[in-house]
Amino acid sequence: MITVKHLYKSFNSHEVLSDINCTIHDGEVIVIIGPSGSGKSTLLRCLNLLETPTQGSIIIDGQDITDRKVNIDQVREKMGMVFQQFNLFPHKTVIKNICHAPIRVRKMKRGDAEQQGMDLLSKVGLREKKDVYPITLSGGQQQRIAIARALAMQPTAMLFDEPTSALDPEMVSEVLAVIKDLAKEGMTMVIVTHEMGFAKEVGDRIIFMDGGQIVEENTPEELFRHPQHARTQNFLSKILH
């Protein structure tokens, strides 16, 4: 379980997150929506400390990860992240992209890591791409590899920051399908996305952010059908039409 309490984040004097409170239960899929610049990415990146919160706490399974004594690397191991721009390692083949951290960080045996890597490649439907370099792959394929790479660390939760925003439209569905599979398996996930249909389908709960705050949070049915706040209504009316 992840509990965010009174989280603030400023860049210099610019306050980007203010008083964020939320709880993510195990196996839950949270989708964060909101206008550009509302702080969605920043919140997500605070959850694995790619951004250091200015104030507040993030408690993961009883441990406050904002505590200076906490080993950040160990926190990140358990928290997979998938980026908008995939960020695969261009100098490594697909299988090496997937196996590198398990071998180097988790100290897995190479054979075991490769076995696991092949299983993950099957899962994302790209077994035959094991030995190619990322540059030869389409965006959708690269993003599926990036998901496999994150899963290889056997995280307890996954963070997605607009995983399909950099993709050509025809490739969006193949990536969403992989994420949906993960949801079915019960993976805890926090997903920032502009794909409202997908949000409705996969989300257990939707968080709407605006101006660095959580304006509203609810089940997809409620939030999309009966948005309570004017700002939510305004945003949804723009994005759904």
């Binding site: 694995n48 790619l50 690397d73 160990q74 990140r76 191991e77 928290m79 997979g80 992240m81 980026f83 721009q85 960020n87 695969l88 390692f89 261009p90 100098h91 590198h100 951290a101 180097r104 960080v105 988790r106 190619v132 370099y133 540059i135 030869t136 990036a146 790479r149 994150a150 660390m153």
Partner: protein, 222 residues
């Protein structure tokens, strides 16, 4: 042209070959050792500790702001005094050239690292890799590929720079040329031969470099 007399080559050509060999050797050693030292300087420059950063900056500024010839003498005279050791001349020359090259390579390396997209380091860190491992396994290999052409040019530069260590008696190409000039009493001809050898070396390497670069580029789109 009849006043130019190259007949000395028949008996002295081996001086030039031997000199060219030492020149290339010096360039190879100084570019490799200079790269290692240069990477170290770059990492120091990125250190969290202020003094370490400062040392790296001061070193690079000093080397880039003073003539190589002064550095050669500094090492030649200063290093044996500092270490209370008798250092062979060749080693002294190699050290001076390495020190010189390392400052320039560290600057090149720095831009090579900066050219690696920030997302690479974020991706590595998000997988739980610590900053050292991220640098060694993810950033540096890509940075090296970025600066390979620049390293090649550095190597070519080192070939020319190495002529300056002739002043401390290292028998590289320039030194051998001076020897030949002395014994044959010919002023111009040995210098012409020597220059042509430098030119052949640098031109060959430039061509080789272009070829390797093209290969590297095409391997990007395998």
């Amino acid at each position: 042209m009849e006043f130019l007399n190259f007949s000395f080559l028949g008996s002295y050509y081996s001086f030039f070959l031997q000199g060219a060999y030492v020149t290339v050797l010096l360039a190879i050693i100084s570019v490799i050792a200079g790269t290692i030292l240069g990477v170290l300087l770059t990492l120091m420059r990125r250190s969290k500790i202020k003094v370490v950063r400062w040392i790296s900056i001061a070193y690079v500024e000093f080397i880039r702001g003073t003539p190589l010839l002064a550095q050669v003498y500094l090492v030649y005279v200063g290093l044996p005094m500092l270490l209370q050791l008798n250092i062979p001349d060749f080693t002294t020359g190699a050290i001076a050239l390495t020190i010189h090259a390392s400052a320039y390579i560290s600057e090149t390396m720095r831009s090579g690292i900066e050219a690696v997209p920030y997302g690479q380091s974020e991706a590595a860190r998000s997988l739980g890799m610590n900053s050292r491992r991220t640098m060694l396994d993810i950033i540096l290999p890509q940075a090296f590929k970025n600066i390979l052409p620049a390293l090649g040019n550095q190597f070519i530069g080192n070939i020319k720079d190495s002529s300056l260590v002739s002043v401390i008696g290292i028998a590289e190409l320039m030194y051998e040329t001076t020897t030949v000039r002395g014994t044959t009493a010919l002023g111009l001809e040995p210098i012409i031969v020597c220059s042509l050898i430098y030119l052949v070396l640098t031109l060959t390497l430039t061509r080789l470099l272009t070829f390797v670069e093209r290969r590297l580029k095409s391997s990007d789109h395998r």
